[in-house]
Amino acid sequence: MRDIREQLGKEILFFDGAMGTMLQRAGLKSGELPELLNLRSPEIIYDIHKAYLDAGCHVISTNTFGANRLKFDNVPEIINAALDTARRAADAYNAYVALDIGPTGKLLKPLGELEFEDAYALFAEQVQAGKDKADLILIETMGDLYEIKAAVLAAKENSDLPVFVTMIFSDNGRLLTGADATTAAITLEALGVDALGLNCGFGPDAMLPLTKELAAATDLPLIVNPNAGLPEVVNGKTVYNVLPAAFAEKMTEIVAAGAWVVGGCCGTTPEHIAAEVAACKQLVPVQRTIPPFTAITSYSQAAIFNKKTLIIGERINPTGKKRFKEALRTKDMNYIINEGISQADKGADILDVNVGLPEIDETHMLLDAVKGLQAVTDTPLQLDTTDPKALETALRAYNGKAMINSVNGKPESMNTVFPLAKKYGGVIVALLLDENGIPATSEGRLAVADKIINRAAEYGISASELVFDPLAMTISTDENAALITLDTVRALHSKGLKTVLGVSNISFGLPGRETITAEFFVLAMQAGLSAGIVNPNSARLMSAYRAYNALCGLDPSFTAYIASEAVNPINQTPAAQNEKSLYECILKGLTEEAAARAKQDLKTKDPLAIIDNDIIGALNAAGQKFENKTLFLPQLLMCAEASKAVFDVIKATIPRENSASKGKIVICTVKNDIHDIGKNIVRTLLENYGYDVIDLGKDVEPSLVAETVVQNSIKLVGLSALMTTTVPFMEETVKAVRAVAPDCKIMVGGAVLTQKYSDMIGADSYSKDAMGAVRYAQSVFGN
């Protein structure tokens, strides 16, 4: 049979309609698993396929929507039977059979429990079972870009079949996990799908605007399989109220908007498809040409390289940063993640992630950093590594279309990076240097750019997927360095190519670096710079950036400029900031003031005295007020945040500050419980009282707690549980710890816990709140 890809765009192709609706007509009860009918009653399935083929569809989908190992032990058997039936029906009509793959029904981590690679394995099993008898793979009703990525990789790595993906959007025009249609289209195109589109969720009416949005974002073939309207319950039965004629009429508009493949989803019947075929088959597929554009995505938003220069935050990088290196060595992931959050809050459009240090395992660290950052921020990431294994691992796990930093004109660099970029998708930073070093002239750098473009094309990567870095070199060693770089930016810009610069390099070795850097950034923007790798925490630089945008008509109504200038520290008198004592700043929870004050105090005071007097003093005062109910949880935590900021300042001054540790404590939320707010509050307070906390997270195996206790010679463990159903696991954990470390003390807490429960399961102490945990720790460690 002809490859369906060759038919796309030549004529309108038709998918079948609903399977579930037809099965209910045939008597399937709600709650019964339709996939079992492939084995029990294949004739029912055959008749449904045949009815759709008689209606005129070109592609039928197998009855395998939920046929995965989470629901069935005999996946290959079910899929095989489904394909046999579909094949038997389709072959008589010379029609295509799509192996239908629906979502797993679970949320992937970090939103849910399912590991990305486990989702991949579920899909891979389905693909392997069906690839020999199917003509294409239809991944459908997907509401999460990450799950789509797992399914597409499984399809492409385990078969050569065409891969079609259709997604279900909510009425806010977004996927369940937040992506709009444009972001979804960019991401799927990067993954190399053959066609993409919409199914389920809405009737054809509501799908029209989404079809238009997709049509403007990608020139890939579009598929639209709507429901027959929205579901309504009438007399206990779910019904859909758009009748075949009205459905078909609306579908002609969807075809006019650019869809090349149409069919139906829930509520549609052979009658709907027959009407749709009659109305649409004479229509000519609309040929769309989208001007190439450069964009990366996260799981929910896109960063599009446009007229306005994008800010790429440079702070997640150990170069020249004592505190950051310390965080990498001690795997202090929260420190690294907070560097990301604060840059995103300050206006970074993209975050560069560089966690390479000679003495650490960069592959694992980069993977953890990417996962950790994507658990808390939807700002797209730029993966910054020279280690190919670290790059591939991170690209695979990244949720979205990443930016890759970097490739250069050396053959081995291009041979390593381009295949990975092609496979996983990604916009690549191309450094304009090669085996002969950095060309001294603008012409020389442009020649390297040409070489890189040509080589990328051989891998099927277009120039729009490249962003060129003409290399900002410090002017302190060559006073013409900036001019050469700016010339190169200008020349690349005039060719319609995108550019990026590590802007801060320009001022290396000079006093007043922020001034030179900010002015250079403005010049580069004027030369057409597409993105700057900069420090978003530099008020001077961000101020220049926002002023430039305001001056160039890139900030409508000056919204961004006005909002940022209102809080710009440059506009505040320094005297007003530091009137309060450090103790007072911490007690009041004034994080920024406390950090600034600590920096000053450190010039004259001993760090340990600051910890004991100001930090612990303020925390104790707040803790006492909390216990007396004259101060409440949010204030107590604000006080803790301020003291953490002060700790960070102290650590940056004396990085290996271990003398301040008052003892090591292991904490976690017990197995099967996923509530960790209370546990996190306890951690925050314990840390601020100077304890080292090993936080094992939530849903933790008792054996892991026991192992950690032994490995670290732990004297105190804290366990949290919120559900009555998980208290038994708390007891199990207590026993596991007692078995290996009888002297280790165990404190417990959580909404359902009481002193009685605590005694019953054999814990040493029950804490009714976070301060209780601190008090008990103090008694255990005698401090």
């Binding site: 709650g31 996990t177 996923i674 996190n680």
Partner: protein, 191 residues
């Protein structure tokens, strides 16, 4: 939203200080922008059995559920969620600002309750002439979490509003609720 409830969740008695009050307002605003609430419900005929109750085609075993529904004629099942992005918000602030995480948690809990109330109001409007009883959920005493699987299948919850069940029948996104509510015929039309 009800600031009083939020304060109660945070165990704040009396007026909060300025910083906390500001935090509550900030969280209310951010939560309103972030949430993607969804809700569904369906009303079923039911039949009391000796060891439980048949709701639609599905049997729920247990004396507690039978007791809670015994005075009613029909049973509504509902499911609501604030959506996935709210969980990300809590995770973010747990790392960057624990005080805001705690307040956000309280704000989102109140928003979830609010959407449950609205769903209950819709149920009340649906069949004319019925009174709706107090709603109750799996996880209440005597109502095992295993009921979740059945409720999820009956309402097709995962596909329709995107809530998923963990291996131990907890819901994700975490700001989600399922509930039963009995309906009793009045004889007169309320509306």
């Amino acid at each position: 939203m009800n600031e009083k409830n939020i304060r109660r969740y945070l165990r704040i008695t009396g007026e909060p200080d300025d910083a906390t009050a500001r935090l509550i307002r900030e969280c209310m605003e951010e939560a309103a922008h972030t949430m993607t609430p969804k809700r569904i419900f369906r009303i079923y005929d039911m039949e009391m059995r000796e060891d439980g109750v048949l709701i639609g085609d599905t049997f729920f075993e247990g004396t507690q559920i039978a007791k809670r529904l015994q005075d009613f004629d029909k049973c509504a099942l509902m499911a609501v969620t604030l959506g996935v992005p709210c969980d990300t918000l809590i995770r973010k602030y747990s790392v960057s600002r624990p005080s805001k995480a705690a307040v956000m948690q309280a704000v989102l809990a109140d928003m979830t309750e609010d959407i449950c109330d609205r769903t209950e109001a819709d149920i009340r409007l649906t069949p004319p002439g019925y009174t709706v009883g107090q709603r109750f959920s799996p996880g209440y005493p005597g109502l095992p979490l295993e009921f979740q699987k059945k409720i999820f299948a009956m309402l097709d919850i995962s596909k329709r509003i995107g809530i998923t069940l963990t291996a131990t029948d907890l819901m994700l996104p975490s700001k989600s609720v399922t509930a039963f509510a009995g309906l009793k015929e009045n004889g007169t039309c309320e509306i």
